[in-house]
Amino acid sequence: MGNLLDAWQSGDNDPRSRTDRVARAGRTVNYDGSFNYRAPDVGPLVEPGIATLGKGTPDPASPIGVTPLRSTRPEDVDAYIRENYGQMAGFLDHPEIGKILREAAINEFDYGKLYGRIVKTDWWQSTSAAQRTWQQLANEDPAEARRLVSQTAATMNNRARSLGLNLSPSQIGGMATQSTINGWTDAQTVDSLISQVNWATLKAGDLTALRDQVKEIAGDYLVGVSPGTAQNYAMSMASGEMSPEGVRSAMVKQAKARFGYLSSELDQGMTVKQYFAPVANRIESELELGAGSVDMMDSKWLSMLETQGEDGKPRAATLHEATQLARKDSRWANTQKAQEQTTNMMSTIGKVFGRTAI
C-alpha cells in the first residue's frame, strides 16, 4: 500500500526510479515546514492482492481485493470498490482511473499490473505527485483538505505581511489552494508571493529591507543601482536565489570594472566606500558637515573617484584635491573656515596693495 502511495505521491514519473523510492518504505512527501503539511497516508490506490486496506503491511505479490466481487455489473463493481477501497472511490468518476479501477476489480489485477496501467494514463503523466496526493485527499477527506488550505493560507498571509505585501483574502486563498494542491516548497511560495509585488504599494517589510540592504551594499562599493535593479536583487534575495554575499560579489565585480586601480584593495576585502572614507571626511570637514553626510555617489564628488593621473591613468583623488573640490561647493562660502579665509585674504590683499584695512 505504502509503496504504491509513495509512487503516487512522487514527482518522479519514471517507474523504476519511483520503485526505488517505494523501497524507502514509510517515506511520504513532505511539504515544506512553512506549510507543515505532511501528506496523509491515504492508503492504497487500488490494493486488491497488495494489502488489505488499513489492515496490514502490503504484499506486492498479493492479488487485488480481499472480498469477492459479487458480479461484474457496474453497480456491483463500484460497490465492491467503494466497500473495499473507499479511499479510491473518488476516482471512480475519473474518466481514465475509474475505468482502470473497475477493470482491475473485475480482473483481479495484481499490484504490478494495476500500477503498470495507471502510470500509462494521461492523468498520471500530466499530474504531479503532490497533485495526485491532493486529489486523493480531497476525495477522501474534503474537510482535511480545506483545513490544510486554510492552514497554508494563514502561513502565506504571515509570509506576505512579512514581505510587506498587502494581499486580499481572495489572493491569499487562491495562492494557498495552489500551494497546497501543488505542494509548493517555501521557495515556490515566496516566488508566488513575490510575483504579486507592486513596489509602489509595498509596505515596509522584508523586501524593502532587502532592497535597502542591496542599496547599502551597492553604496559600499559606490556602485549606482537603479531602484528597479535594487528591487530585482531584493526579490532574488527574498526568494533565496541570491544571498547578500552574492550581491556583494556582484558589486565587487562592478567596482573592479570601474575602479581598476582598486582591484588589489577590493580583493583584500576593502570596500570602495572605506577606501574613499578619508576623502569623504575631508569634504565633510571643509564644508563643516556632520560625519557621514557626504555621499561619494553624489555627482558633485564623482570626480574624486576617477581623477586622471599624470600618466593618463585613472586614480583616486588626493586629500588636497578633495579640499579644493569641497571649496567649490556653494556651501563652503558660508563655513567658518571660508570666512576666516576671506578675512585672511582681505588682510593679504591689503598688504599687496598697501592698504592697512579693507
Binding site: 579644493q324 576671506t342 585672511n344 585674504m345 598688504k351 596693495f353 579693507i358
Partner: protein, 293 residues
C-alpha cells in the same frame, strides 16, 4: 546664498578691488555668492602675500591694470636703469599724484585713468616732480596776470585752456627747468607789457635767464619804464631807441652800447635844453632824459 556676515565681507572685498580697478577679480552675484579669480585662490587655499602676488601678476586683469609694471620689467630686462614698482607702489603713486592734481584743479581727465599716471611713471616723473610741474608751471600760469598768460600763449602756443596748460606742464619731453624758464619768460614779457615795455621772446628769455627774482625783474622793468621819455623820439632825433631794446639792454644786461646810445640821446637833449630851457634828470639808473618835444 551666503549668510549676512559672509556677504558683508565679500562686499567689502569686492568694493575695494573695484576701487583699484581690479573688480573683475572678485565678484559677488545677486544672491551674495562670491566668485571670480580671487575666490578661486581662496578655494585653492592661497593665503600668503608672496604666493598671491605671484599668481596675481599672471592674470590678464592685473596685467592690464598694472601694465606699467610689465613695462618696467621689460625695460629692466633690457638693462635700463629702472626701478620696477610693485602694485602697492603704483597705487601709492597714483593716489599721491591724483590728490595733487585734484587740489591744483587740473581737469579730471588728467587723473581719471590709471594710464594717466602710468605715462608719468614711465617718464620717470616722481610725485615730487609732478608737484613741481603743477605748482611751477600749471598753477603759476593759471594764476598769473592776463598779460603774463597772453605772453605765455604767444611764446609757447599753449592756448588758453586749462587742459592745454596742464598737458604742457606734464609733458615729459619738457623738463621742469624748461618750464620754469618759460614761465619766467612769460612773466617777464607779461609784466613788461604792464609797464608798457614791448619785448620779444628772446629778450624776455634773456631776462628770465638772469639770476633775478621776479621782484628783481619787476624792479628792473620799472626802471626801464621810468626811462620811457628817452625812448620817445623828438623831432630831430634820428636814432630809434626803444625800451624793449636799449632800455632792457641797459638795465638788465648792462649793455655798453645801449648805455652809450642812451647817454648820447640825453646829451643831445641836454644841449638842446641849454639852448632853450630845462635841464637833465638824474635818476638812480643813471642819467635820464626828461624832456620831450
Amino acid at each position: 546664498m551666503a549668510d549676512a556676515n559672509a556677504q558683508s565681507q565679500f562686499s567689502q572685498l569686492a568694493s575695494y578691488l573695484d576701487s583699484i580697478g581690479l573688480g573683475q577679480l572678485f565678484t559677488v552675484d545677486a544672491s551674495g555668492n562670491p566668485g571670480g579669480w580671487l575666490w578661486n585662490q581662496m578655494e585653492a587655499g592661497v593665503d600668503s602675500e608672496d604666493e598671491l602676488y605671484f599668481r596675481l601678476e599672471q592674470t590678464d586683469v592685473f596685467r592690464e591694470r598694472f601694465g606699467v609694471i610689465q613695462e618696467q620689467q621689460k625695460r629692466a630686462a633690457r638693462g635700463e636703469p629702472v626701478t620696477v614698482m610693485t602694485a602697492r607702489d603704483v597705487l601709492a603713486y597714483e593716489n599721491e599724484v591724483k590728490q595733487m592734481m585734484s587740489r591744483a584743479g587740473l581737469p579730471s581727465t588728467f587723473y581719471d585713468e590709471p594710464a594717466d599716471f602710468h605715462k608719468l611713471i614711465l617718464s620717470d616723473m616722481s610725485p615730487t616732480e609732478v608737484n613741481d610741474r603743477i605748482t611751477q608751471a600749471y598753477d603759476y600760469v593759471l594764476s598769473a596776470p592776463p598779460e603774463v598768460r597772453d605772453a605765455f600763449d604767444e611764446f609757447y602756443g599753449v592756448g588758453q585752456g586749462d587742459a592745454q596748460l596742464a598737458s604742457w606742464a606734464l609733458d615729459p619731453d619738457r623738463t621742469v627747468r624748461d618750464m620754469t624758464r618759460a614761465t619766467r619768460t612769460a612773466y617777464t614779457a607779461g609784466m613788461g607789457e604792464k609797464f608798457g615795455i614791448q619785448m620779444n621772446r628772446a629778450a624776455a628769455e634773456s631776462i628770465a635767464d638772469l639770476p633775478k627774482t621776479e621782484a628783481g625783474i619787476v624792479q628792473g622793468l620799472e626802471q626801464v619804464a621810468s626811462m620811457s621819455p628817452i625812448f620817445t623820439e623828438s623831432i630831430g632825433e634820428a636814432n630809434d631807441l626803444t625800451a624793449g631794446n636799449e632800455g632792457i639792454d641797459s638795465v638788465f644786461n648792462g649793455s655798453g652800447e645801449a648805455n652809450t646810445a642812451i647817454q648820447r640821446r640825453l646829451a643831445q637833449r641836454k644841449a638842446i635844453d641849454r639852448s632853450s630851457t630845462g635841464g637833465a634828470l638824474t635818476t638812480q639808473a643813471g642819467v635820464l632824459g626828461a624832456g620831450s618835444s
